[in-house]
Structure formats: C-alpha cells, structure tokens
C-alpha cells in the first residue's frame, strides 16, 4: 500500500544493470497488480466481504462462509469455462439449460422407474457424451456457418428447454424427474458427486496454532517479498543491519509469544511486538538494500488537501459513531414518508430536465448524476437500519480517511513521518472501536485487523525511508531444483498418504483427494523451505516473486485449516443437549462442488496465462483471422472451448442431480446470463481477447457473498437484483478504467 503513490520518482536516473532499459520505469509489485484484469473484482470482493462482515454476525463465521461458498461454487464452476469461451470471442447461451439437461438425461437413462433403467455406471458416461456432443455441435455449427454464436446457441438453448420439458413429460408425465437414488450404482456415484466434507467429523486441536503460525509466516513472507520486489539489493553485506534485524525479530517473537499467553490484550507486550517488527524491518532493509538518495526531499502538490481530508474523514467517522444509535435496528427512514417522496420526485425530474439539457449540449453530461444522487438518498434510507447505516458510514469514512492519509504520505518525501502519523491515526481508531463497540467481533477482530494494518503501514514507511527503489525488474527466480525436489517429495507423500488412508478403510475418492492435498502441502512446504533458504543465504535477486507466492499460499492454507477443521472445544461449545437427551451439533459442510470450483479456477487461469492453449484462446478472441493465418487452429480451439463449457455443465448437472435426486425440468434455465455477468464482473471483455479465468471465479464469489449476505444481514431480499445490477454496472466501469490504465501504463 505504500507503493500506490503516482508522484513517486518514476524514472530511474542510473540503470543498475546492463539489461535495463532507461525508458522503462520499473513498476513495483502493487502497480503491476493494479494492471491485472481481475483487480477490480478482487477489490470489490474485499469490499463486499468487509461490508457484510461488519453488518451481519453470521456472515463471517465458518457456517456463513460455507453457505456463500456453496452458491459461489455452483456459479463459478460454470463461470470459469464461460469466461474462457468469452475470451475466445464466443458466447454459449445454452450453458444454463445444459446443466439441467445433463441431470435429466442422467436420471432418465439410469432410473428404472420411469427411464431406460441402464443403471448409473452406463448412464453417467453417456450423459457426459451427451454434453460433449452438444458442445461439439455448438462449436462446429458456429465455425462452419460463421454465424454469431449468440444466435446458434440461442437455438440450442430453446431446443434444450423444449426437449427437457417434452421428454420429462413423455416419460414421467410430470415436470419432475425422480428416482435417481433407486438406480443401480447409486452408492458409488453418490460417493463422488454427493461427497461433502463434514467439518464436525474432523477434529484437530492444534488447529489454532497452525492457523496462527501460517498467517504469521504468510504475512512475513508477503511483506519481505514485497520489499524484495520494490527495493534494490546492496552489493556488500552490512553486519549492523543483520544484528538490528535479529534483535528486532527476537523482540517481536518474544512479545508475540507473551501476548498469546495472556487472556486479554496487553498493552506492554503489544508495544514490544510492534516495536520489534519495526526494528526487524529496519534491520532487514539496512542489511539488504541500497540506501536511498536523500536529496529528494519536500512535499509535492496536493499533500495538504489529502492530509487535511484524511483527518477530517477520520474525525467525521468518530462523530457519526458517537451520534448515531448503535442499538436501533429500526429503519433509517429519516427521508421516508412525504419528504422522501418529494426528494425522490425532484431527483427524477432533475434527471429528466438535466438529461434533455445535456443531450442538447447545454450542460455537461455529468449533471444528471445530481438527480440520480437525490433519488438514491431516500431510496437507500428506508432500506437500511440505523444500526447498519451507522456501521457503513463509520466504516466508509474511516477507510476513506486512512486512504487519504496514505496518499498524503506518498506525497511527502521522506514520507516516514506522515506514514507514522497515519499509523497512529489507525491505532487511535482501533482503540476507539474497541472502547465503543458492543460486539466482540468489532472489539477484538476489527481491533486486531486495524492494529495489523497500522503496523504494516508503519513497516512500509520504515522500509521506504531506509531503502532505494529498484530500477529494473528482478531476474526470474532460480528455484528450479527446489521445485523439482518438492514435486518428487510431494508425489511420494501423496502416494504414501493415499495408500495409508485406503488401508484405514476410507473410500477411494477420499483417499485420492486427501493424498493429493497432503502431497501438495508437502511440495509447497519444500518449496517454501527452499525459498527461505535462498532468500537468507544466496544472492538470488529473483526470490521476491517466490516469497509473495509462498506468502499467499501460506495465508490460504491457514484460512483453509480454519474452515475445514474444528477444535474439540469449539465442537463442545456449539453442541446442545436437546429435550430428548440427544446431543445436537449444527453441522457445517463443504460439498465437492467447492473443490471442483477451486480446481477449475486454478487450472483455468494456469491454462490461460501459462500454456500454449491459453495463448491461442486470447488470439482467436482478439483477432481470429490473424490467429488463423499464422497457424493457430482457430476452429479447433473454439470447438474445444465450447466442449469445455458443456463438460463443466455436465459436472454441474451431476452435482445438482446427486444433491436433489429429483430434478425439475427447468433447473438451470436462465443461469447462462448469470455466468456471463459474473465473468464480466471478473474483468473479462465481452468482445473477447482479454480477461481472466481467476477473475470469473472472484466474480462468482462476489455474487455468492451478495446473494447470501443480504439474507444474513436481514435486508429485504426483494432488492437483491437491484444490488446485483448496480454491481454489474460498477464492475464494468471499473474494469474499463483498469484496462485503459493497463494499456496506458505500458
């Protein structure tokens, strides 16, 4: 966050290496991230999560997460291949109907009550063949006729809807096709498509230690990786820096350990930890990076207004928190009733009048937005409770204030003083939140998050004060042998673990997945060890990227451990003894759909960014004739994409069928637009040639969070589509801006 200042000395004076291009300012990791297509979605997802986490208590719990992940996974599993197809320049409007169609085909083929009675061992592969055939048909027809895929797949869409209803009625006389659970082979296939992870069955008492350890390790790796990517390495070693760094690290670890042994937060130990971290970072920078050129001092334009704006926003946030009633769950409604209606009407009139004037060229086109804002105020005011409005206003203003202060920090060199003031402001905010809030969530969790944020900002400021910016892109990391060793050790671990699970009597699917997971974790661990070793003991300049990777990986593993495992104490706490003396424990489960979604998102973005096929997808979507003339098999690429979508539709159909065992004829119809919307929210260009598979996955997460979060927050769910529509528009605008920026920056 220290890197996003636009006024930083962008152009390097003296290129360090011979390979440097002096016209090219090196962009730090955060600037690079800002030009990725999915950045809008990523920030949006963070914002949406924060919003619902603040306004509803169940949303942030493991149960709430499982709930929105489930919705997101069903959507994202399809949205990722739909996004790839969209990047390839085509649409598939039949994708939604196809999910239901494969489920119905499966049941009609397998069930012996109303269907062909083939049993599932034959019906499952046949339904896959059916799905792939439709994908192939779509792709071939689009390619052979050169008709827009919009028209061709619209035809397939109606054919599928009609066929689903027609065949369902023909064979069962109902629109509900049922009898899957009585078909032969149900148990085996249900073990795959109906599988789910029951959290209560996985007790791990050391979980909290693992989770905390992974987060600390991940955070450290991320911080050091960012520093490594941003600052220039020094040639000689600096013993003073090493000693300072070690002392700081010891202090931080001691302080943290003492904090953990305390029940409540302890100010002295907290200060010890914070100071230790800062001293550690300072030592690291002294030991490792060049000293900066101290001649560039002074304040650049806009500093005063940013700084003042930040202070005003923080103060306003606190005033609002003090004035508004935290307990009142009544409707905000201060503009409800007739004043609200009058304002609404005035706003609408203004839009009309100003719109006409703008169209005539009398006023700039921005003016009608005033009317829209006037309409929005009363509309929103009766939707939101006073409680929620207070939280939103407070949170929004506080975030705005911190952002403004951070920008101010970037405009003053050396900026360490202002950055430290910003950190101090956040610390004050944190203690304010703690003293004032009722709920444990805000008092403990938000408090800790704010303190961590302040610490990160302060650490960034210290680092920037002590280190010179990198002027050239770092060399690629030289981790070849570590990756290879990691893969081999991981593969061995996977096989050993899977076999031991099989011997223990677990079923094959579970053993395979668990084995793969263990192997992956072991391989990741070896890679992490290798990266740490290379960072500390070699002069490899490329470790920055690897550090960022393992930082993110460790943090994700930490979150996964928290979501997937339960501690004994936690289990005891949630179980209640019913009146009939039966112990009832609310169960949290993650369906296999979540796993499928994660695999699709990961493999999809790997394919798009790193493989030849990915390049071909971008090429056929960007300029099909050019791609073809240079030897890219355009027709085959597109047909494979259509078949990928229909294959994903088959997986979705199987998951639906085994979850419900009886399928309505209209299941999935209309979802195709959701897939497309989610893909667009994720930064994919509607006209093809640009986008991100990971972005589509993040888009699906946003959709899941909003559609479930509205329920958790007990808002009126009638407005859900309004929120989603607004989200779509905002997302498109942000993505447009990001793409323009990405092209300009280069």
């Amino acid at each position: 966050m220290a890197e996003d200042d636009a006024d930083a000395p962008a152009v390097a004076d003296a290129p360090a290496g011979g390979t440097t291009d002096e016209r090219l300012a090196h962009r730090g990791p955060i600037q690079q991230l800002l030009t990725r297509p999915e950045i809008g979605a990523l920030l949006g997802a963070g914002g949406v999560w924060l919003l619902f986490w603040l306004v509803s208590s169940p949303f942030g719990t493991v149960g709430g997460t499982a709930n929105f992940l489930d919705v997101a996974a069903y959507l994202g599993l399809m949205a990722v291949p739909v996004a790839l197809l969209m990047i390839g320049g085509e649409f598939d409007l039949s994708s939604g109907a196809m999910t239901g169609a494969t489920a119905i085909v499966l049941i009609l083929l397998a069930s012996d009550i109303a269907g062909a009675g083939l049993g599932l061992h034959i019906a499952v592969p046949l339904s896959l063949a059916f799905a792939l055939a439709i994908g192939w048909f779509n792709g071939t027809l689009v390619e052979k006729t050169s008709l827009p895929s919009f028209i061709v797949t619209l035809g397939t869409f109606f054919i599928l809807i009609g066929a689903k209803l027609g065949f369902a009625k023909l064979f069962t006389n109902k629109v509900l096709v049922e009898g899957l659970d009585e078909a032969a082979g149900y148990d085996f296939w249900n073990g795959i498509f109906g599988a789910s992870w029951l959290r209560n069955g996985h007790i791990w008492d050391g979980r909290d230690w693992a989770w905390a350890g992974l987060l600390v390790f991940g955070g450290t790796a991320l911080l050091l990786g960012t520093l490594e990517l941003s600052y220039a390495r020094r040639k000689s070693s600096n013993p003073a820096g090493i000693v300072t760094g070690l002392a700081g690290t010891v202090a931080a670890m001691a302080g943290f350990a003492l904090l953990l042994t305390q029940d409540g937060a302890d100010l002295v130990y907290g200060l010890l930890t914070g100071a230790g971290v800062l001293v550690g970072v300072a030592g690291w920078c002294l030991a490792r990076y060049e000293r900066p050129d101290q001649s560039e001092r002074g304040v650049s334009t806009g500093f005063v207004s940013y700084f003042a704006g930040g202070i005003v926003a923080v103060v306003a946030a606190m005033v609002i928190a003090g004035l508004m009633d935290a307990e009142n769950s009544g409707s905000l409604g201060f503009l409800g009733g007739s004043p609200g209606r009058i304002i609404f009407a005035i706003g609408m009139g203004l839009i009309g009048v100003l719109g006409v004037l703008a169209a005539l060229g009398r006023v700039t086109p921005g003016y009608p937005a005033i009317g829209a804002a006037l309409m929005l105020v009363p509309s929103v005011s009766f939707l939101v409770t006073i409680q929620a409005a207070r939280t939103i206003l407070f949170g929004g203003l506080a975030i705005l204030g911190v952002l403004l202060l951070t920008s101010a920090a970037g405009r003053m060199r050396p900026s360490v003083v202002v950055s430290l003031i910003t950190s101090a402001a956040i610390v004050v905010l944190a203690f304010f939140v703690q003293s004032e809030s009722m709920s444990r969530k805000l008092r403990v969790e938000l408090f800790s998050v704010l303190l961590l944020l302040a610490l990160a900002l302060a650490a960034a400021a210290v680092a920037r004060y002590l280190s010179a910016r990198r002027t050239s892109a770092p060399a690629p990391p030289q981790l070849g042998p570590w990756i290879r060793v990691g893969m081999i050790v991981g593969a061995v671990a996977a096989v050993v673990f899977a076999v031991s699970e099989l011997i223990d009597g677990d079923d094959i699917l579970y053993a395979l997945i668990a084995g793969a997971a263990v192997g992956g974790i072991v391989a990741f661990g070896v890679y992490a060890v290798g990266t740490v070793y290379r960072t500390l003991f070699t002069s490899d300049e490329g470790v920055g990227r690897a550090l960022v990777t393992i930082g993110i990986g460790a943090a994700l593993l930490g979150v996964a451990s928290r979501l997937l495992f339960i501690t004994g104490a936690e289990l005891e706490a949630i179980c209640t003894l019913g009146s009939d003396d039966v112990l009832r424990c609310p169960e949290t489960q993650f369906g296999v759909v979540v796993l499928a979604f994660l695999i699709f998102a990961a493999v999809g973005s790997w394919v798009l960014m790193r493989t030849q096929f990915g390049s071909w997808i971008l090429a056929v979507g960007g300029n099909k004739e050019a791609a073809r003339s240079i030897g890219v098999p355009a027709a085959r690429t597109k047909t494979i994409l259509f078949m990928l979508v229909s294959g994903a539709a088959w997986i979705t159909g199987m998951l639906i069928a085994f979850r419900l065992t009886a399928v309505q004829a209209n299941v999935g119809d209309g979802n195709e637009f959701r897939y497309i919307i989610v893909a667009v929210v994720g930064g994919n260009l509607l006209t093809g040639g640009y986008g991100s598979a990971l972005g589509a996955g993040i888009g699906a997460l946003i959709w899941g969070m909003i559609s479930q979060g509205i329920g958790f927050a007990q808002w009126n769910s009638d407005w859900r589509f309004l929120v989603l529509g607004a989200l779509l528009l905002v997302a498109v605008l942000v993505n447009n801006y990001v793409r323009g920026r990405a092209e300009k920056v280069r």
Partner: protein, 261 residues
C-alpha cells in the same frame, strides 16, 4: 542450369468464371527482393494467397527448389519456409508483444501434463530478435496495439525470420505508413535480404519498390505485364508501366495541354 529457389510458371487462378490471375511467371531467390506491383484489383492479393497456401492455383506450376508443389494450407506453406506478413499484420492487438511473436509456435518447458510456455525465455528471445532488427522494445509485455505501425511491421518481420522463413512475403507493408515509417520498413526489407532471405514485396508504390527491388513483376487486371530484372528497367519506366503506361501518357499530355492553353 541452376534451379531458382522458387519459380512460378504461368500461374492462373479462377473464381468460377472470374479470371483472378492468369499467366504470372517470375523467380524468387535468396538475397533478392522480388517486387510485385499492381493497382487495386490487379490480382496482388490472389498472388499472395496462392504462395501462402490460402488458395491453390488452377493452372501453371509452382516450383520450390525445382520440385513442383501446391500448398493446401497456410501451415503447409509455413512448414516449407514461406512466411507471409499480411497487410493487416496478422497480429492480435490486445496481446503482448512476446505472445504475438511466438503465437502458434510457443516455446514450451516442463513435463506433460504440466507443459507450459517458457515465458521468461520467450520474452528474452523476442527482445533479442527485435534488437537485431534495430528496434528496442521497451517492454515485451506491452500490448501490440500500443506499438506504432512501423514497429508492428518490424515485429512481424522479425517473427518470420526467427521462425526460419526462407521466403518472406510482405503484403503492402508501407501502404498505411507515413514517409518516415515507410523508410524504416524499407530498411528492414534490405536487412532481411542481406540476412539471406528471399523477399517478395507487394506494393502499389513504384517509388518504394524500385530502390529495394532486384526483380519486378507488374500485374494489371489479373494479367502479368512482364517480369523484369532491375537492370532492364528504369524507375521512370516502372512508374509508367505501373500506372497503365499509355493511359498515364495520355493524362500527362492532357495536363500539359491544359497548362499551356
């Protein structure tokens, strides 16, 4: 008798009853630039497409190193070392320079199923090859759409020569460019020739063709007006032939008269 590298003998192409190209003969040799000139609709595009394997000729013979060939697809022509740089550049504007450079022939690393593009290697090679052409690409991650017209042509030419092209067909490379940029591209043509490539340079501008060409073929309304070596033709003659000879003379005459009266 030494065989020419690529020889066309009376090549003709018909679309139904339309005669697109008839009786075109010429030779193409390494280290030489063969210019194909013609006005709009003269059959230049058909000529390229036959050599590039997009279309197949209906009459005549196409000899590659003395052996008669007929290319059924662009891939086949490419495999035999005939690379075409199209007027619309055959580039994907939103894709980065290195992706465009290696499109269709990405260098790969790793074991199946983990085979992926060797991105760092691809970026390095793209930068080096561009440097050889005298173009210093700032950042190979830059989308091709942000390059200037001359730079884009250079990427296309560098790509073709890197992938072992022996014959380089350039379709109107200077037509959309300004004077300065055209000069840059003409220099690239000379450089490619000096590297030992056979270059076929399609243009309608005799002023661009004459300085770099070793051999000239002039097409008019699908017919070949002839096939000359450079020493058989002066620039003025070339311009005259190109503009339809007699017609231009008549026009000059009329203009001169209008000037004197």
């Amino acid at each position: 008798m030494s065989t020419d590298f690529l020889e066309l003998r009376n090549i003709s192409k018909f679309y139904g009853n339309i005669i697109a190209l008839t009786g075109v003969s010429t030779t193409v040799n390494p280290g030489e630039v063969t210019c194909v000139l013609g006005d709009n609709g003269a059959g230049k595009s058909t000529f390229i497409k036959i050599l590039a394997g997009v279309h197949q000729h209906d009459e005549g013979e196409l000899l590659l190193e003395g052996e008669e060939v007929k290319f059924n697809s662009p891939r086949e022509a490419l495999a035999r070392g005939i690379a075409t740089v199209y007027q619309d550049l055959a580039m994907v504007p939103l894709m980065s320079v290195w992706r465009n450079f290696f499109l269709g022939a990405e260098p790969k690393t790793g074991m199946w199923p983990f085979r992926q593009i060797d991105i760092d290697g691809a970026k390095r090679i793209a930068k080096e090859e561009m440097a050889k052409m005298g173009i210093d690409i700032r950042d190979t991650e830059q989308p091709v759409g942000t390059l200037s017209g001359g730079e884009r042509q250079s990427v296309a030419i560098a790509r073709a020569s890197y992938f072992g092209a022996r014959v380089l067909i350039l379709d109107e490379p200077t037509s959309a460019l300004g004077v300065k940029q055209s000069g840059v591209v003409l220099r690239r043509i000379v450089e490619a020739r000096d590297q030992g490539l056979a270059v076929i340079f399609i243009t309608h501008n005799p002023n661009h063709a004459y300085p770099v060409g070793d051999r000239f073929v002039i097409l008019q309304r699908g017919r070949s007006l002839g096939n000359w070596a450079k020493e058989e033709l002066s620039q003025g003659e070339l311009t005259q032939l190109m503009a339809g000879g007699a017609e231009l003379e008549e026009l000059q005459h009329e203009l001169a008269q209008a000037g004197t009266s």
